[in-house]
């Protein structure tokens, strides 16, 4: 029984071991230069330890421990960033055309960026699941989906509230708004897919495929304002000639973007930790049911 367990574990370990120079064990035998696999030791010890440390995170227990250590700092950084950002939005001058409603931009734009960025991150995680079989990739993808959906929702709602005074309508079916709405629906679809399949590994693979297919929406969103005649304004920050927004508005925008990104990272890491714990509970309950049988 123990031998079978050992064998099963070694099979998966073999996958990971085949990808990395070496994974240290709990005794901490990860001194630089201690070559456990015959790979090139031309890595400087620092980078090698960094790579090893990153791959080490694949171990869920260590990941949880790391999150517990790092999370308070991240939360503090997020709160500080929001404090600066909100002060910046308070200070920001009124736009000569839009007046004070430009302050909605400081929420709308970061959330719009994040909604696309999170799907991009989920696509990378999907590759991690399907191609490299990274143990935590599907956990990362599963936890990112509700957060991405929330950010997309906020982008849509704040955009709608901004559009009502500016364009006279809450909604219009132009290319940019429609493609973001489709992105929102896809987020909800991925979340629904996760909830439909019981086994996390199978669900992860299905969701990974759906995520990669849906990634085609990202360039459509980004370039929609250029390819089609839309009501939504064209790109004014990330464009070829540099930003066209005045610095007095650009700086608070950047700070709020950083704040929302830090918020996402904090929430994501915390959610990943919760998900790992949840899977542990599930495994234990399955073991208990097995033993009782």
């Amino acid at each position: 029984m123990a031998a079978a367990h050992e064998k099963a574990r070694c099979k998966t370990d073999g996958v990971i071991a085949g990808l990395v120079p070496a994974i240290p064990d709990r005794d901490g035998r990860d001194k630089p230069g201690h070559d456990q696999v015959g790979t090139a030791t031309s890595f400087a010890p620092v980078t090698r330890n960094a790579v090893v440390a990153l791959i080490d995170l694949a171990n869920p227990t260590r990941f949880v421990a790391l999150v517990e250590r790092v999370l308070p700092w991240l939360v503090a950084a997020t709160l500080m960033a929001f404090a600066f950002g909100l002060w910046g939005t308070y200070q920001a001058p009124d736009d000569y055309q839009q007046g004070a409603t430009v302050k909605i931009m400081f929420i709308h734009v970061p959330n719009a960026w994040l909604s696309m960025f999170v799907w991009g991150m989920m696509s990378a995680a999907a590759l991690g699941t399907l191609v490299w079989r990274h143990p935590l990739a599907d956990v990362a993808a599963k936890c990112a989906a509700p957060l991405g959906a929330a950010f997309t929702f906020l982008a849509l709602v704040t955009g709608s509230l901004w559009g009502r005074p500016m364009w006279g309508t809450y909604w219009v079916w132009d290319a940019r708004l429609t493609s973001v709405l489709v992105l929102f629906i896809m987020y909800l679809a991925v979340i629904a897919l996760w909830r439909t399949v019981d086994d996390p590994t199978r669900a992860g693979r299905a969701a990974a495929i759906l995520t990669l297919v849906g990634a085609i929406n990202l360039p459509i969103i980004k370039f929609s304002v250029e390819w089609w005649n839309t009501l939504h304004q064209p790109a004014s920050v990330f464009r070829m000639g540099g930003p066209t927004i005045d610095r007095s508005l650009l700086v608070p925008l950047a700070v709020m973007a950083i704040a929302f990104t830090l918020l996402f990272v904090s929430l994501h890491l915390a959610a990943m930790r919760n998900e790992i714990l949840r899977r542990r509970v599930r495994t234990l309950m399955l073991t208990q049911a097995e033993r009782a049988a």
Partner: protein, 63 residues
């Protein structure tokens, strides 16, 4: 602070953002508490992971 004629929309947007962010934070925190509760309950009933019982985690070294 004078928010102009469209103050309602601006305030509404910020309230919406606070509500959504707040809901996310509450969800993550409550979920954490629930999982911890479940784990302590299982531990109390004596159901632990096999690696927590016995030897420390060890990776098999290739021959």
């Amino acid at each position: 602070m004078d928010l102009g004629p469209h103050a309602g929309f601006i305030v509404g947007a910020y309230i919406m953002a606070t509500a959504v962010v707040g809901a996310l934070v509450v969800w993550v925190t409550a979920d954490h508490a629930a999982q911890k509760r479940a784990l302590t309950e299982l531990e109390r009933r004596g159901i632990t992971r096999r690696s927590a019982e016995s030897r420390p985690l060890k990776m098999k070294e290739p021959a």
